[in-house]
Subunit: 331 residues, 2 copies
């Protein structure tokens, strides 16, 4: 196997976040289930946007955030995702490249505009996402560069990719290429509703095609349809080589064969916006994995990155993670 | 005179801010004079953007920020400015309307794209603006609604409007309409370099066509070409009915006839980003003026709003100014 060119290659829905503060009343009066990711069409996106307060735009996208996080730790990352050749597509492309990530996916010249997620942040810091997939539906196997995938230590795939049909095909093909090249495949379950939509497919992946699984408490319990976190943890241990399970303020549990590590959360002064917490946990964990750290340290890097991202608005780091890791003796 | 429909109507260059953290070295290696507003063409904007780190996009524009600030205090505001019918133009339009401001200027269907300002924030919190005027060059007298202007208590004009030729005409026409209707005309000198470019015209305005003048220390000294702030303050008192002069951490000085009020700055924990400080000072001051407050209270409202805006990234308020005013006993 040749030397890897990147630590982690991520594939995901390429999205610009439109972030706005709101109230719980706004969510309920607009029939928006709180806390998850709701898929919406363009008409609904326009309608919701018109009702939403002033916002700020920041590049987002779950796997994209993670790869930017890996780069922020000092790792090397590449990203595959589809935006249109419009203003927000240029913003997305600029930001991910300016973060040091290789991004070469061709921009869509026609079709729907660059994807946007209206992210409504309630006073408790919880984010509720309303995503219009736009140009993401154009991502397909034709966008994959087999050499790029084969040369990355880990190919990281977001469960959200199963929502647009062609992207699901790209997901499967990328996993196949990575495994054929002897590389690791990593999956995040993304969202409890996403698990509901694609449970059978995700279970099939977890039982044999995924080396490193990321899930939060709700997602892993939904995957196995159990009410108890510990029960889900036992099940995933039997299915998957390595799973990192996040539990918000309870930190994370890493399970791998006979090994289980509990890592406490890093306390934050104030939870401003939880957007990107899971993405950044994955960034820290994968940076650790690709840099030979033990599983407990990988977990610590994950919770550290998550603690930074929930302290401010947006899912891209404001403080370089490499500096944070140094301050916490994790470099 | 009929009842006013708005407290303040602002006219300015409608801009989306593209904000990025940078270093002093970046500014010097790119020949960017620190602290001011540099006008750049599209090619230079693309070139600088390509070299700039990840950014966030927030609606801006000097007078637009001020009117949003007036609305945040609970006042009524209207805005006139030109964006294109593109993604950033829609973002700008959404944000200003979502802030409660009347904004009815027709979007440009063709021509240059919506204006962007690459705002580079150095570690000291100072902002350096690099503005591509884009669609702003299409603003002209045809965009003015005489009834709207005549029905606003104050028409607030930014000095930056003198940069695009047709906007300067719109500026003069708006001032004429406001005065003919017996309303007040207010001007901000905007930027020391802007004063350099348009000193003669600004002096002519100040000596007879402006009722309320805003300037910072450097701008007012540049206007009168004097090295001493107190000397400039004496000169402006002779020329203008009311002038509010800001001095950063030294607060502000309000001069009007025989009256001079000194208002200290509101201390902030950390200056994160000075973008919008002058704009928000004007917002607080004009809210006060249009709500019958004495000049000292107007100055206090101004420095209070400025203190909020420099505590976070971006030039639009995060905490409603009405709440802040209440907390400080200024409601």
């Amino acid at each position: 196997m040749s030397e890897p060119r990147h630590n982690v290659l991520g594939i995901g829905n390429a999205i610009v976040d439109v972030i706005s503060r709101t109230t719980d009343e706004f969510l309920s009066s607009h029939d928006i289930p709180k806390g998850g990711m709701n898929l919406i069409d363009e008409a609904r996106a326009e309608e919701l946007y018109a009702d939403t307060g002033p916002s700020i735009e920041i590049s987002g996208g779950s796997a994209a955030n993670t790869i930017v996080g890996v780069a922020s730790f000092g790792g090397t990352g590449a990203y595959v995702g589809k935006v249109k050749d419009d203003q927000l597509g240029k913003v997305f492309s600029h930001d991910i490249r300016a973060s040091g990530v290789t991004f070469e996916t061709a921009l869509a010249g026609e079709g729907p505009s660059t994807a946007r997620s209206l992210i409504l942040v309630t006073p408790d810091g919880e984010r509720t996402m309303n995503t219009y997939l736009g140009a993401c539906v154009q991502l397909g196997p034709q966008d994959l560069d087999a050499d790029l995938i084969a040369s990355a230590q880990v190919t990281y795939l977001e469960g959200y990719l199963w929502d647009p049909e062609a992207a699901k095909e790209a997901f499967r093909e990328a996993a196949r290429i990575a495994r054929a090249a002897g590389r690791k495949v990593s999956l995040t379950l993304s969202d409890p509703f996403c698990v509901e939509r694609h449970r059978e497919g995700f279970l099939e992946l977890v039982k044999g095609n995924v080396d490193i699984l990321f899930a939060n408490e709700l997602e892993i319990m939904s995957l196995y349809q159990v009410d108890d976190f510990d029960e889900a943890a036992v099940k995933v241990k039997a299915d998957c080589e390595l799973a990192a399970l996040t539990r918000s303020e309870k930190g994370c549990v890493v399970v791998s064969g006979d090994h289980t590590a509990h890592v406490p959360a890093v306390p934050v002064k104030q939870v401003v916006d939880t957007t990107g917490a899971g993405d950044m946990f994955a960034a820290g964990f994968l940076y650790g994995v690709t840099h030979g750290r033990d599983l407990e340290t990988c977990g610590k890097l994950g919770v550290l990155a998550a603690s930074e991202i929930i302290s401010h608005v947006g899912a891209r780091p404001e403080t370089p993670f490499a500096d944070l890791a140094r301050q916490h003796g994790l470099d």
